[in-house]
């Protein structure tokens, strides 16, 4: 009796400990989200954070398709864009308080997801990908044709301060907008996380893993995909509404293939196999975008290279890269990796920076005004039309990459060492 009670008590403690472990990241995230404007006060940082939060919601919704449902979509921007366009029009015409606008955005995203999902989710794989591409093109074409709704090339504008105040807040300042976006980002992320824990979310995983088996267990693969698709459309619509609130303008760019491709890139960069992956991807991508685009005109090239490198070397994304270190961390052997990693980072850094300089010089030669030979890189001014900068940066890049190749076996050895358990544990199982 006593024993039974003890185990029951222990079970309860374990259960609540488990609950805590699940809840803790969310509480930390909420506190962090709310504290951000006190840490970073400049309005440009808040602008970046707003953009980041919108991208997080969009990427998480995309991962409902790609990561959890196994659907590769090339047209997810359609649902964000349409949600956004409807919200801009609502902002212009109806007195809906801004904090409720994302609900409407979600509704419109959902509506279009139901219509398009009804035929596009019949098959997964290539068929689904092709249909999403086609629908993406179709909607992008419509956005140019139906000027009354999409506003043609200028897009549609609205003024968020014209809608009725919400408890005295008129969302004129960036910080007020930040809090609106932050709260919605938190709610949307939490809802998307909880979705993965529901029967619908679990079966979406099952259909992704093995659609045929799921079908023979009583699940219609098509219906399961449609549910995920609609949920993803709903949250993309919310992201669109947040975009509308933040930028007060939507253009054809918000629904075109480039935006759809970018969100695939963001999600993949972060890691599709993890819930937090798209969040990390969105943060890193937005930072890269806003920092790099200020520094260089060819930032998209660097992002492209980063994406290629991710696909080729870290197919599980940045989160996967972190997760790979779990074993070493559990064994307490992460220290083994520090020195080899630092060496690798140094060599890689030299190679990457030098290669980037090389590309920048090339770009300068091609695109600078005629006769403008003076170029500034990292505080150094030099003539981009002489041979030395080319030789120097090219040579440094080659040396850097050669060093990377040289160091690879050392990192590999350290990796193996870090992942070998220290001792055979009790019970004889390694």
């Amino acid at each position: 009796m006593t024993i039974a009670r003890t185990t029951e008590g222990q079970a309860r403690t374990i259960a609540s400990a488990g609950q805590w472990r699940v809840m803790l990241p969310w509480i930390v995230a909420l506190v962090l989200l709310l504290a951000m404007p006190f840490i970073f006060r400049s309005s440009s940082t808040i602008t970046i954070m707003n953009q980041m939060a919108i991208t997080i919601v969009f990427a998480l919704s995309y991962n409902m398709l790609l990561g959890q449902g196994g659907m590769l979509s090339f047209g997810h921007a359609v649902y964000m864009g349409l949600g956004g366009f409807f919200c801009v029009h609502l902002m212009k015409s109806l007195p809906i308080p801004l904090p409720f606008l994302p609900l409407f955005g979600g509704f419109f995203g959902l509506l279009f997801a139901i219509i398009i999902g009804a035929f596009s989710t019949r098959r997964a794989g290539t068929v689904f990908a092709m249909i999403s591409l086609g629908v993406g093109e179709l909607v992008a074409a419509c956005s140019i044709i139906i000027v009354a709704f999409f506003g043609g090339e200028e897009g549609v504008k609205a003024d968020r301060t014209k809608v009725p105040e919400f408890f005295g807040v008129n969302f004129a300042s960036q910080t007020e907008v930040y809090y609106l976006i932050a709260v919605w980002t938190f709610l949307a992320a939490l809802a998307m996380y909880l979705f993965t824990r529901t029967p619908a979310g679990r079966i979406a995983n099952a259909v992704r893993d093995n659609e045929e088996r799921a079908e023979f267990l009583g699940y219609s693969q098509r219906y399961v995909r449609l549910i995920s698709f609609c949920a993803a459309g709903f949250f993309a619509g919310i992201a669109g509404a947040l975009f509308a609130v933040n930028f007060e303008i939507l253009t054809a760019e918000n629904l075109n293939l480039q935006t759809s491709g970018a969100i695939l890139l963001v999600t993949f960069l972060g890691g599709v196999g993890f819930f937090i992956g798209p969040i990390i991807g969105a943060i890193v991508f937005t930072l890269l975008q806003s920092v790099l685009s200020l520094q260089t005109e060819i930032w998209q090239l660097y992002v492209g290279v980063l994406f290629l490198a991710t696909v080729m070397f870290f197919p599980f994304g940045l989160t996967g890269l972190l997760a790979m270190h779990h074993t070493a961390w559990r064994e307490g052997k992460l220290g083994v990796l520090v020195i080899p990693y630092l060496k690798m980072l140094l060599a890689g850094g030299i190679g990457i920076l030098a290669a980037a300089c090389f590309l920048e010089i090339m770009f300068h030669v091609r695109h600078a005004a005629v006769g403008d030979h003076a170029m500034r890189l990292f505080g150094q001014t030099f003539d981009s039309h002489t041979v030395w900068p080319w030789l120097l940066t090219g040579g440094a890049a080659l040396i850097g990459f050669a060093l990377v190749k040289r160091l690879a076996p050392e990192v590999k050895a350290a990796w193996d060492e870090a992942n070998t358990p220290n001792a055979v544990r009790r019970g004889g199982k390694p």
């Binding site: 824990r197 029967p199 099952a206 893993d209 079908e215 023979f216 219906y223």
Partner: protein
């Protein structure tokens, strides 16, 4: 006489010009353990696929507990109480063993595609899944990804997710294929135990397993059933011996 669990009437199936199933009539009583045997290419797997809804028959009717099911999608047939396993292991490799079984339980336990229940909070569901794991002796592997299990364990898991939903007609496609003798013996015991009181239909090549488990045997040759009878009668049937069994039977003795 009660309504048969499965009744096939004059079922044909052609792929293009190739006639694979050429007029099969078969009736399997509730709670019977029925084996379908036959040489390679006889159409056993096709017959399985017709009954379970993977393919629609070209003509003929298939009834499950008296209701016509031919041409219906697999998930509808499954919901009417028929569950199958596959010749090639067919599980959810990236999900945990527990998750595999739990997924198989969601529909039959009424959760369907709900997005307002949290699976972790459904103690009835989780206990049922753990119960299935215990029955197939995989409790110790509960949290491993199903893809890393040994072959025999994956086969056991396959049986587990097949029976999890409580279907009363269980169809197993070569459940002991590729197993060692001891693994096959274990599998036969497991099958016997988990299909207690249910209708079992299986395709099997191992004659030891067939004669050990089956109440009745049907012999399928070139898309036709040439005999359907009790094991000893099938064994004695000259047509069967001529077509197929002779060599295999001698090998089994």
């Amino acid at each position: 006489m009660s309504v048969p669990a499965i009744a096939l009437t004059d079922v044909h199936k052609s792929f293009g010009k190739a006639q694979i199933i050429r007029g099969v009539d078969l009736s399997i009583a509730p709670r019977e353990r029925h084996a379908i045997i036959g040489p390679n290419g006889a159409g056993k797997s096709t017959l399985f696929n017709l009954i379970t809804g993977r393919f629609a028959p070209t003509s003929g009717t298939i009834k499950l507990h008296g209701e016509e099911i031919q041409g219906r999608p697999p998930y509808e047939i499954n919901r009417r109480g028929l569950s199958r396993s596959f010749q090639i292991t067919n599980i959810f490799p990236k999900m945990s063993v527990f998750e595999n079984v739990r997924c198989a339980l969601l529909w039959p336990m009424g959760y369907r595609y709900s997005f307002w229940h949290m699976v972790s909070g459904q103690s009835e569901l989780n206990e049922a899944a753990d119960g299935i794991l215990e029955r197939i002796n995989l409790s110790a592997r509960r949290d491993l990804p199903a893809g890393v299990l040994s072959y025999a364990e994956q086969r056991a898991l396959e049986i587990g997710i097949t029976i999890a939903g409580g279907a009363n007609v269980i169809m197993l496609d070569e459940p002991t294929a590729g197993m060692s003798h001891s693994e096959a013996d274990y599998m036969v015991d497991l099958i016997r135990q988990v299909t207690e009181g249910k209708t079992l239909i299986m395709v099997e090549h191992d004659m030891g397993v067939v004669f050990n488990l089956a109440d009745r045997i049907s012999v399928l040759v070139y898309g036709e059933i040439i005999a359907s009878d009790r094991p000893d009668a099938v064994r004695a049937n000259p047509k069967v011996q001529e077509a197929y069994l002779g060599a295999a039977l001698e090998a089994a003795h």
